[in-house]
């Protein structure tokens, strides 16, 4: 298990449509180059107005990732372990959870 030695890979996820831009979200999971099983992936989460999500929890790859100031982190090994998990949600206090999906492109 290792990411490519000379490339940074960023997978994008986007929310399903929601009524307000504040409820919508987009996320980017960054795989640094040459990262092995003990490595960590950075998760960057913005709302539909392109502002960092101040606080929340992202459900991704079967893990709950705590988001603070638009950022969170996920163990690379956990992501690979949960690569078959379909559920992607952003949970925020006082707001309904909004599901999302992997973006193509």
């Amino acid at each position: 298990m290792r990411t490519p030695a000379d490339k940074t890979i960023g997978l994008s996820f986007i929310s399903h449509p929601a009524k307000s831009a504040k409820l919508r979200w987009s996320a980017r999971l960054v795989f640094p180059p040459d990262t092995g099983p003990d490595g960590t992936l950075e998760l960057l989460v913005n709302d539909g107005e392109n502002e960092p999500v101040a606080s929340g929890t992202m459900e991704l790859a079967g893990m709950l990732v705590r988001i603070r100031g638009g950022k969170g982190s996920l163990a690379y090994a956990d992501f690979v372990r949960g690569k078959h998990e379909k559920g992607i949600w952003l949970h925020r206090k006082g707001a309904i959870p909004i599901p999302g999906r992997l973006a193509f492109g």
Binding site: M1, R2, T3, P4, K7, I9, L11, I14, R24, S26, F31, G48, V80, K83, H84, E85, K86, R101, L102, A103, F104, G105
Partner: protein, 195 residues
């Protein structure tokens, strides 16, 4: 063995014909000076080319287009060379279910791709349909969607994908990718029928 006999074996999709495809077509082309440098540059392996050629010939039925005019080896080699040239990231604005890019994910332009005005509507429709098919792929198995994305958008070799997602082998990645392409094409037809 004549070209038409070889053609019949290739069309059957079995090892006998495809072993010769590897030996006479894919391997020599991937070792050639004109292609090896580009393959390194675009991170594609001979195994990737084999998978693409199989998908094109068997999956899409292109093998039926061979009419025996010229050598089968030369005819197949043109496809392989085409795959290598098409791996150039600068060409990825083409309308293709395998490597379509977004003009718009949320109404804003995510990537500027020069599209002639008359083709803009068709381009957006293709993109919307691609997204539906990709969502269907995700619902089948997210790992398949990750593999599709890493191969088509990030141009990782099968070996790199295997390492990154901890898949059992590069050949397995090739098989999954080949199945993905077939699945996307079938989804396209299904979505088209059902609106």
């Amino acid at each position: 063995m004549t070209d038409m006999e070889w053609h019949a074996l290739v069309k059957e999709g079995g090892d006998a014909g495809w072993k010769l495809v590897w030996e006479r077509v894919v391997e020599p082309e991937s070792r050639s000076m004109r292609s090896s440098e580009l393959m390194d540059k675009y991170s594609i392996t001979a195994g990737d080319l084999m998978g693409m050629l199989y998908e094109e010939m068997i999956g899409r039925g292109k093998i039926d287009l061979y009419r025996g005019e010229g050598s089968l080896q030369g005819w197949l080699r043109k496809y392989v060379r085409g795959f290598i040239l098409a791996a150039d990231p600068a060409k990825h604005g083409e309308l293709s279910i395998e490597n379509a890019h977004p003009d718009s994910e949320d109404g804003s332009s995510a990537m500027d791709i020069p599209v002639p005005p008359g083709r803009q509507i068709a381009h957006n429709e293709v993109w919307d349909m691609t997204m539906k098919c990709f969502s269907s792929l995700w619902n089948e198995d997210p790992e398949r969607a990750y593999i599709h994305l890493l191969k088509t958008q990030f141009h990782l070799s099968s070996e790199e994908v295997k390492e990154m997602l901890d898949v059992s082998s590069a050949a397995n990645v090739d098989q999954i990718f080949s199945r993905n392409v077939k699945f996307m094409r079938k989804s396209w037809v299904d979505h088209d029928k059902n609106g």
